[in-house]
């Protein structure tokens, strides 16, 4: 039986929140699990990955109805069978009032975390509401909700040819021994040591950087050339901010991926390539607990862990960075093993549907 779905996304900043909810909405629609509406209160972030949203308040694509979520929510909206508030956002009060007549289950889809406490809160009933409400935590263990992996992910990956990606971007195909990195991070001083270590790897190195905040830290260190930027043996190419599908292709095409946020972090894991996670910075370094929980759970090689911690503390030193790039074969092996685990685990949408079916 098919149901209707409403997913609410309050865009706090950047692209993480909308990245996850957009990916989820598309996958629910792709599996033909019912009509999906995605309510988003900021189309400017979303528009970076879906330019068609310029100057509209409603748009339909890939089986999803994308709706602008205004401050004054329309009172006549009929709530869906399943309602997902992403990342603990507050639903419009008029909508909540109408939910008991229409909605079977109300979920709070939380941020992904590898911390152990997540297991004890995943699937828990939340409060006393007129509609049964539950917390749903993505995660990496069988006691959590998993991560989003599209049903067609492996077939897309297998069919992909990196040369087509480079051709489309107008960037030279990498030479045989070239080390190519994608960079999608926040600002950090850690690029100084990273670039210095990369300049010593005795291979040509290139960075592919989607337009955005990474460039704030990188460009001041580089010199402008005709078609790219240069720092010692390292070339930097900028590419436009892209759709999620094209970002996947960038990750598949590079040897190492620097990623941030939640959606790109998961995509880097699924790509099976070495990656560095630049986690969103929080007060009192709360983000570092989340980072180390992942590094410990995933049992990353020690040089990878040291690099991650230092990179995210903005105090990366040259020896730590050099150590990482000397260990690329081990790092790659770990990445491929971890990719296999993620792809073979039950994915988030499958678990979500099972969970909802068990509660209806």
């Amino acid at each position: 039986m098919k149901y209707t779905w409403d997913i609410f996304c309050d865009v706090i900043d950047n692209f993480g929140d909308i990245g996850v909810t957009w990916r989820l909405a598309k996958e629910i629609a792709a599996r033909e699990l019912g009509a999906v509406r995605l309510w988003v209160n900021d189309f400017s972030s979303f528009g970076a990955m879906l330019p068609e949203l310029d100057n509209v308040t409603s748009y339909q694509t890939q089986g999803v109805s994308i709706e602008y979520w205004p401050n004054k929510f329309p009172p006549n909206v009929v709530p869906a069978t399943y309602v997902i508030e992403a990342f603990a956002c507050d639903l419009p009060s008029s909508y909540v009032e109408s939910m008991p007549r229409e909605t079977k289950i109300w979920l709070n889809l939380e941020y992904l975390s590898a911390e152990s406490w997540v297991e004890s809160c995943h699937g828990m009933s939340s409060g006393a509401n007129t509609v049964p409400k539950y917390f749903f935590f993505p995660g990496f263990t069988p006691k959590t909700g998993g991560v989003i992996v599209e049903k067609n992910y492996q077939s897309r990956l297998s069919a992909f040819e990196p040369s087509t990606y480079w051709q489309r971007q107008g960037i030279p195909t990498p030479s045989s021994n070239e080390l190519r990195l994608s960079v999608f991070t926040y600002e950090t001083q850690s690029w100084h040591a990273t670039l210095e270590a990369l300049s010593k790897v005795s291979r040509p190195v290139s960075l592919i950087v989607p337009t955005g905040r990474s460039l704030n830290s990188l460009l001041p260190l580089f010199t402008k050339e005709t078609s790219c930027y240069k720092y010692k043996n390292i070339r930097l190419y900028t590419v436009p901010f892209s759709t999620q599908e094209h970002y996947d292709e960038l990750l598949w095409s590079c040897d190492i991926n620097f990623v941030r946020g939640e959606d790109s972090f998961v995509r880097a894991q699924l790509a099976g390539k070495p990656f560095v996670w630049h986690i969103y910075k929080q007060d009192e370094d709360a983000h570092l607990d989340k980072l180390t929980a992942f590094l410990d759970l995933a049992q990353v090689p020690s040089c990878v862990k040291s690099f991650h911690v230092a990179f995210n503390r903005d105090d990366l030193q040259l020896d730590t960075a050099s150590c990482l790039f000397e260990q690329i074969p081990n790092w790659l092996q770990w990445s491929q093993d971890w990719q296999e685990k993620r792809i073979n685990c039950e994915d988030l949408v499958t678990q979500l549907v099972k969970f909802l079916n068990s509660k209806v």
Binding site: C121, M124, S125, S126, I279, A286, K290
Partner: protein, 187 residues
């Protein structure tokens, strides 16, 4: 109203329009995850337990319950009757007495705290220390006064508990009602 993160064990909240006591709270927060509070609750009216998880900033209706000092009066099957200083009588169901029922005995003079919800007596709290008589215990083990060896004993309330080996039939003993443990023998 309090936020979920302000709640502490012992607070009473309205949950599904029922008074529930918070038994345990667990606060979790990391990175961008919304802070959440996991709680264990127990219904004051029916003793049913439940667990829930709330956003830390979610507002919760708290309840300040009325309490009154009373003494035990008599048992009117199936209710235990307590009386305040103005001779008002209140019936309390056995299951709402919790562990206190183990120390209820005719003629007891302990000052009890009776808790009310919507003017209905829902629970009774005994003093921290009560004194009860040992109605039956095995004979004392000769020479052992250390208190480390224990034996079962039956109080004059009918409740059975472990007491040190030196306690004898007819002794009065102090019991800690928070832990239900023997405290000392009194004259």
């Amino acid at each position: 109203m309090k936020t979920a993160q302000e709640l502490r064990a012992g607070n009473v909240i309205s949950f599904n329009n029922e008074p529930m006591i918070v038994l345990k709270t667990e606060f979790n927060k990391s990175g961008r995850n919304a802070a959440v509070v996991k709680m264990k609750l127990k219904g004051l009216l029916n003793n049913s337990g439940t667990e829930t998880v709330l956003k830390a900033d979610e507002k919760v209706d708290t309840i300040i319950l009325d309490r009154k000092e009373c003494t035990y009066s008599y048992f009117a099957d199936p209710m235990y009757v307590f009386m305040d200083e103005e001779y008002n009588q209140y019936d309390v169901e056995k299951e709402n007495l919790g562990d206190a029922v183990m120390y209820i005995v005719d003629g007891m003079e302990d000052k009890c705290e009776v808790t009310f919800y919507n003017e209905k007596a829902i629970s009774v709290e005994l003093p921290t220390i009560v004194v009860r008589k040992v109605e039956y215990a095995e004979p004392a083990a000769r020479g052992d006064t250390s208190g480390k060896v224990t034996k079962p004993a039956r109080l004059n309330t009918g409740y059975e508990m472990h007491v040190p080996a030196f306690v004898e039939i007819g002794d009065s003993i102090e019991i800690d009602t928070r832990t239900n443990e023997f405290r000392k023998r009194v004259l």
